[in-house]
Amino acid sequence: MIKKGSQIVCESLLREGCDVVFGIPGGAILPLYQALPEYPELRHILTRHEQGASLAADGYARVTGKPGVAFATSGPGATNLVTGIASAQMDSVPVVIVTGQVNSWTIGSDAFQETDITGITLPVTKHNFLVMDASEIASSIKEAFHIANSGRPGPVLVDIPRNVFIQEIEYEEPGELNLPGYSPNFSGHSGQIRKAAHLINESERPVIVAGHGIIISKAYDELKELAERAQIPVITTLLGISCFPEDHVLWTGWPGMHGMAYSSFAIEEADLIIALGMRFDDRITGDPSKFALNSKKIHIDVDPSEIGKNIAVDVPIVGDVKEVLTRMNTQIVAATHPAWLKRIDVLKKDHPSLDIPETSKLLARQVVKDLSEETKGGATIVTGVGQHQMWAAQHYRFKKPCTFLTSGGSGTMGYEVPAAMGAQVADPDSTVWSIAGDGGFQMTLCELATIAENRLPIKFAILNNGFLGMVRQWQEIFFDSSYVSTAYTGNPDFVRLAEAYGIKGIKVTDKTQVKTAITEAMEHDGPVLIDFIVEQEENVYPMIPSGMTVYDMIEEPVSEKVTT
């Protein structure tokens, strides 16, 4: 059958199970857009900025576990996607991007809106393709989805010149995948698995550090089985949050720069670290040469290049964490570790990172805690980057898997609006709360139009401190409170801004109004924005200055604790 390139793109996407695309049209990709009406099963959501499209695809992918898809035109359309692509790369999120390119015969001539997007995205994609003939579209898209969502997931970009969308060819179904250089190892080495089980059975003070890999491979039950069978405390990474229920007795917080002090100390005191689907990020290790020197380490990850990258390990296992745990768990002997669990309780009591000071002021932390209670820890929480992100991670108690979406590796401010959009589109019945910073929110707030247009019932909680708060905190602590360019004195009235988009807005200035505002927002069936005017100079504690060790940790000063 004769088909156009544009039709082959749509049919290939549908074959891969894609049902939603986020994007913005333009000259080079227009022929693809003009084919969309033929494929009503392919829902297109028109964003207001291409960064919104790539970050929405990220949010969608995290919630569904299947690749999120974004479209953009050549040149500025494509470059606007880049922040979202780089974020997805850093956090191992499967995203497939289709960009239009200038006509193939003009490539290299600096044609109007020509940008070498495969060149630009080369270091921030898992792989990318420039498709020069319509006969290659079907196989390229098939390969793109496979690469994006197998092994360690990541973004894949497919760049297609305008004329290739229009080109008509005798269409053939794509054959078997042909990627001789791509074969991620899933199963793990039996000998290594045996060694790991042996170390676990011998250990007296084991901890699990569970990362995003648990969520990506949905190894929730396997993680729980390991933890419960041998009574091993479970610490998660920032991106691992929600992979283990936070009301479980073995849940032991999350460590690192702004993690809970007792989690960081537990890692230091452990004799065995069982690292599952995580990558020993510098936000966790601090100075890697001084990190957890008293322990042996088992590292299970699907990406061999993560093993031994930052931290030397004793038992490396390359494989899918679910598969490896399934096989390893059968070799784990039941244990109780009472002394060790007691020690962790003591650490927790001695370093109460989660206590909120008694005060009449409206603290951002209190808002998160109230939100956690009002939603019973069951909402999907999407954050921006900064203080509010850390407070969300510290004070929301996640009960459901895969409900914390945050830009961890890349720290992309502005994530809070489009990613919430992607999460809500992915699961229309879920309760999505975006915990936003007044800074980050303004980077992507144009998507409020998209949210209003698509009636996405997202609830926004802006923790409005009138500052680029996290940067202000660094200035306070490391630069003598010299607040250079961090005060946001020109913030808009966010309530009126929401109303301008037809979105309900609520302003909260007092501690006593928090819970009622949250309830009101939840009862409203549509998007709501709550502008919480919080304390301006509240700090996130604990804090381990970057490149330092757990023993350099700054815990909350008592003077700040008793603010009235």
């Binding site: 495969t118 060149g119 080369l122 270091p123 898992k126 792989h127 420039l130 690469i147 078997e176 042909n178 990627l179 001789p180 250089g181 791509y182 990406d303 061999p304 290049s305 031994g308 990258k309």
Partner: protein, 180 residues
């Protein structure tokens, strides 16, 4: 830990537009030092072989190998520095020469089993093949006469004996197709 030293790594890669860019971009991005790089066609159509000489300690080399492996178009990677390997490089050296020095230069060229491949009024071009050290020594010796220009191919290397593995790639359909 062993400090910086040279390691030889070979890779079998798909012969497609952009592959070299992908590989060099990985080296640049991760801050690995390539001291020499040579690329050419392999025994199978559609596949090229690359030889990298990399500066770094054992850990760096391990990370280079793993990151090369991660690239979709890289099919096979071998660190052959530990193995018994043959490594060769070809160099062309333009050296200053007059009646007084010609015979002395020719003697040196002979000792190195090199060749004179071009002669002009006051220069010679010498062609030499050998491992990096041999080429370095010849360049150093000739420099006493005055070296104007050196062109080197970069090292290519192969492990000795019959210990090569059959690549999985050779049996993959695309490659069989290309080969026939």
């Amino acid at each position: 830990m062993k400090s910086s030293e040279k390691h030889t790594i070979t890779a079998l890669v798909e012969d497609r537009a952009g592959v070299l860019n992908r590989i060099s971009s990985m080296f640049r991005r991760r801050g690995y030092n390539i001291s020499s790089l040579a690329v050419g066609k392999s025994e199978s159509a559609g596949l090229s072989r690359m030889t990298f000489v990399v500066d770094g300690d054992a850990k760096t080399v391990e990370m280079v190998v793993k990151n090369l492996h991660k690239l979709v178009e890289v099919i096979k990677v071998a660190d052959i520095s530990e193995e018994n390997a043959v490594s060769r490089e070809l160099a062309l050296i333009r050296v200053k020469c007059d009646v007084a020095t010609r015979s002395e230069i020719m003697q040196i060229v002979d000792i190195f089993r090199a060749k004179i491949v071009d002669v002009s009024q006051d220069t010679l071009i010498v062609e030499v093949t050998g491992n990096e050290d041999k080429v370095n020594s010849l360049v150093d010796l000739l420099d006493t006469f005055g070296v104007f220009e050196v062109m080197r191919t970069g090292t290519v290397a192969m492990s000795r004996g019959a210990s090569f593995e059959q690549d999985k790639a050779v049996t993959s359909p695309r490659i069989l197709e290309n080969a026939s």
